[in-house]
Subunit: 169 residues, 2 copies
DNA sequence: ACAATAATGTCAATATATTGACATGAAATA
DNA sequence: TATTTCATGTCAATATATTGACATTATTGT
């Protein structure tokens, strides 16, 4: 046993395992409780993520499917279905990019914007309060830093995402 | 503007939003990179979670589907499909509980145990190292505490999980 | 004992999520 | 210019994940 491995040699494996199991459980609960919180409006956490992204100023004039996928860290193919459902509900619209006939520009509609501002935002605000009960502002900053750090590692681990790391924040 | 709301009134909403968006992205990447890491063995993160649970000493003699679901924080119905696939690969077995004919005891098989020990464990160990690169032992402890804390909030938010919080760790 | 109640696992329907395949269109190269 | 290459979005197949419904079996109350 080297001195370097030393001190935490037996604790470390169980610790990493526990951390990742908690992350796995939190991921399950995020989708379960998040979707349930917005159930009255028939919105899932993925639709929530898409609509939230589309309300961002940089995406105000529409965003390509590929860019949206890179931003949310999901596959293009996955978004097709989510966008189809959101379009059927008139919350988003697809228009052909004038500068590239292959590209479809995804944009939130007035109805979607209204849903977000009037219905979703208050629910989400309450949801954050409940899920972060007991977290001080500094706790939230630290936790966010840890997630940022882990996310960079995940991106390095992913051949696709890694290369275009700089492209979309 | 009350004094209590005060200091962080404008920072807080964006901060919580960022935290949860990072959690959402990490969840996506966890499943993407995790499943890819074990792709050579045709194992997904969910199957990983199930096999990992079944190797725990408390579950050595088998565990009911409902208890396993409560442990992983997924629905019973969801596990049915995962267990069916794992059973088809001979990594787990279902036996009728002698003490309750409704209950099926889920247990890992010798083949499953071998897969876990010989094939999965080393891959998972490397995966943890890569995903936690730059995390000191103390970082890991803090991050785990934050996830634990958030998980308790999620459970309070969930009517089902909340009641049986004490039942399964 | 027996009827009402509740627990247990599964099936069905819907919504993610992944990879692989592909038609279309743009870019690069010869 | 013509051909090869690459980018873009979508379809198909598979694996999660949810809720609702249900048959089977325990448990409870009378």
């Amino acid at each position: 046993m080297s001195e370097k491995a030393g001190k935490y040699r037996d604790i470390a494996p169980g610790l990493s395992n526990r951390l990742f199991f908690r992350l796995y459980q939190c991921a399950n609960m995020l989708h379960k409780t998040g979707t349930r919180a917005l159930d009255a409006h028939r919105i899932t956490t993925q639709q929530w993520a898409v609509l939230g992204a589309l309300t961002r100023p940089p995406f105000a004039n529409g965003v390509a499917v590929g860019d949206l996928a890179a931003f949310l860290l999901v596959s293009r193919q996955n978004l097709t279905g989510v966008l189809t459902r959101l379009e059927a509900m008139d919350y988003i619209e697809r228009t052909v990019d004038a500068k590239d006939n292959r590209s479809r520009l995804i944009r939130i509609t007035a109805k979607g914007r209204d849903l977000w501002d009037e219905d979703m935002r208050p629910v989400i605000s309450d949801y954050y309060d409940a899920a972060l009960r007991g977290f001080s502002t500094e706790d939230r900053i630290h936790m966010t830093h840890y997630l940022d750090k882990m996310l960079r590692n995940f991106k390095d681990l992913d051949p696709e995402t890694c290369s275009e790391k700089k492209a979309v924040e």
